[in-house]
Point group: C3
Chain length 338, copies 3
């Protein structure tokens, strides 16, 4: 039995299998690969794309998705071991995971950080607890990484460049401003998968405070080395955009200020000019732009960029449906692939 | 590609097609007309009948409905163009509509007025934005009109009078009291469709403050003229009920006080006697009574009226299931009909 | 047409039919017994197991479950007759039940007590109103009893002891501490079904304040007499556990303090030692332990008990899926059974 917690746990061949399978599902929507099967979608945080695409993906392959929102329309869950549960939590992850495993064939989990203590959040406790106690495959629907988004993103790039081999492409992950301090999940994921695919990857951010967690910086370095690509950090907007084939934007809060966002806010406010606009895109080598969505227009990217043919964010979002069907099909029907 | 935003956009033949199709679905619940298809149900406001009937209607024809509540279990959406999204909204309608269109075959929207500024609400921005940016058919599940309710209502009358031709029937839309100032959607819709069907329509309301928006008053006049029926406004309860074949009740807030309901409340309180009761129904020509539901008993209509054989509100509610299946089937399989 | 409101309304043969059918569904998950059918799941209170198991059970037999949360994503409902609905409720149970009956083939209801006045709550008004006004079978998903849990519990015992005949087993329902004053539903149900099955049943609770409602105490006495078992009340932990084959734990608030829980709390706090632990389980005759879940670990039962092979709570939870499929199948396809 395999989980789909992070792409880094999977081989490049395994990931390319998922991407190829996703292309097949994009060409042929309906099938019976998951006939009579079921998946529980646990949302500790809200969702539109993720929920819709998983729910429909299951349906289109003959399965049924049950949507649960613990703490809202289900009981709040305890994740610590050995604790006397005299607080707000009514049920322990051990029972939740075992009982759900007795009902469904897969469990998918969205659990954002609590945004209080990064040392705590970086342990990804909720996801890992499900993976530990569930007796069925567990899928990451975004925690501190977002591997389904990674696959959708890479599939869009493969489609765009008409090749499964993305080596040699110049890829820029650019930080952008957002009024709130956001999760680093998609940024961690973008670094991870872009380097994994062997691209020449630049992490563009305002200053060293916006570097990502050492785990993901380390993966990026390891991946670049293994795949024959490169990984660079830059704070220079012009130099980063110059000649880029891919610009991927994401906003996140600076980790040294984690949970103390009031202190980070004044710094963040100084970098609104990181917005992706036409002038910056003009520096690229006819590059494409994408974003995981939701995106605040004219804050992270201008209307002109969003409405340009270079923007493939909607295509990437659509691909969520197809890659997730590939993940579900593979976990159930080809557990030998990883 | 067609939308189903308002009955006024459709021909009478198109509407009669939908009604006839609905009768067929009422006789034969299950089919595969929408096999493998999907519809997103976006609820900006709560629902029971609408959600249940759309969800089941999709299921009974082989499709799947995804229920989304933006702002609750999905991201809040921006509808203004060109704005810098630095407020509460996290995602623009352009992306929402395009991404949903890439997942589903139809999008249905419930979006009540904001009840602040009628000049703003009467533009029906949410629905129209979906219709503009979606690349799949959009269905109105109640905004400032409620066309699905119109079809269910007319189907119940056609069944009751055993004829598809309702011309010559005396139809009274009566305002009733409600402790809150409610949406005019169903009132607008009742006027629109009753005149469209060529009935002799009276709008009975306490005074001129309770007239409906000029758009719908104008449609009613135009429709009556075109169909050979009539349209009258009255503030006289006895005269309005006299000889009626149909009494349809609805409460709404007086538009001149829109968003300033505290000032309207004392006036509204004076008209509690507009309640539909047995004495009033006795004035009709053995008329039927209906209401879109939910209905506050003994406020809008008495128990005696609600529990009488003349009340066809439950039948009308049931018809929601059948007419909505007709709408979905027609939009997908007969896009030439309108 | 039959409802499934309480096991006490059903014959022992009828219940054994449901249990046998559940075993069949456990062996063969998929079927078309409910093809094209539908069930409305009305949750006035949150749920995880119940919702998931009903939703999946419907799906696995070809049906569709619509999940509604009145007052959250549907209108608040009035249950009193003859009232002028000028308060918060927007719709009367009569219309809700009739309209839902026109859409779906079954209605399932979860409605916990309001915890203000037990004399009011013990009338089970919400469930009984649905049963009265619905024209389709109604299923109790937990109100002041929890008959689906009863079946799942008994099926787990039948599996554990490899016999459908549980007579002669010593069964202890033990009260346990919980920081909140909980519903007596599962305790009422455990007494009811354990005595019905002819076991030798002990109700172990701290003192006479924790006795259950006279209706369920009376059923337990009647059932024990009819089935040739026994029913005893005890406040002696050691004596109750001694030689037990089954320990079933549940916490509840003392009924004399109903709605006045602040006054009950100090008393309840004195009985934390009712926790199910290894020392107590060692007194049993190799007995099994179960609980309806959710369970607060190390408050109601220790980790050691929960993680021991004697704990069959997860098995009981899984059985919810199977017994509920048996209930739905029987209500629709074998209405002669009761």
């Amino acid at each position: 039995m395999q989980h789909f917690l992070n792409t880094q746990d999977w081989s490049v061949d395994g990931l390319q299998h998922l991407l190829a399978k996703a292309s097949e599902f994009k060409a042929n929507k309906l099938g019976d690969q998951l006939k009579g099967r079921s998946i529980a979608l646990l949302f500790f945080n809200p969702s539109m794309r993720t929920r819709t695409s998983f729910e429909l993906g299951a349906f289109q392959l003959g399965a049924h998705a049950v949507v649960l929102q613990p703490g809202k329309d289900a009981w709040p869950i305890e994740f610590e071991l050995g604790t006397a549960m005299d607080g707000d939590t009514e049920e322990h992850i051990i029972e939740v995971a075992k009982v759900l495993s007795s009902y469904v064939d897969m469990i998918a989990v969205r659990a954002f950080p609590k945004f209080i203590d990064w040392q705590d959040d970086r342990q990804d406790k909720v996801l890992n607890a499900f993976a530990r106690y569930a007796t069925v495959p567990v899928i990451n629907m975004e925690t501190i990484t977002h591997p389904c988004q990674e696959l959708a993103h890479i599939l869009a790039l493969q489609e765009q460049f008409a090749t499964r081999d993305l080596r040699g492409k110049k890829y820029v992950l650019t930080w952008t401003y957002h009024p709130k301090a956001l999760n680093t999940a998609v940024a961690n994921s973008a670094l991870t998968i872009a380097t994994r695919m062997g691209m020449d990857v630049t992490l563009l951010c305002p200053n060293a405070q916006y570097l990502l967690d050492e785990r993901y910086m380390g993966w990026a370095e390891d991946n670049a080395r293994a795949a024959g690509g490169s990984f660079t950090v830059s704070h220079d907007i012009e130099r980063s955009y110059a000649g880029a084939h891919v610009v991927y934007a994401k906003s996140w809060g600076a980790l040294p200020y984690f949970g103390n966002w009031g202190a980070e806010q004044p710094m963040r406010e100084q970098y609104k000019h990181f917005i992706v606009d036409e002038a910056k895109m003009a520096l690229t080598d006819g590059g494409v732009f994408s974003h995981c969505l939701p995106l605040r227009r004219n804050i992270k990217a201008t209307d002109a960029v969003m409405d340009s043919p270079a923007c493939i964010a909607v295509q990437e979002a659509e691909n969520r449906l197809h890659v997730q069907k590939a993940v579900m099909d593979t976990l159930i029907n080809h557990p030998e692939i990883r």
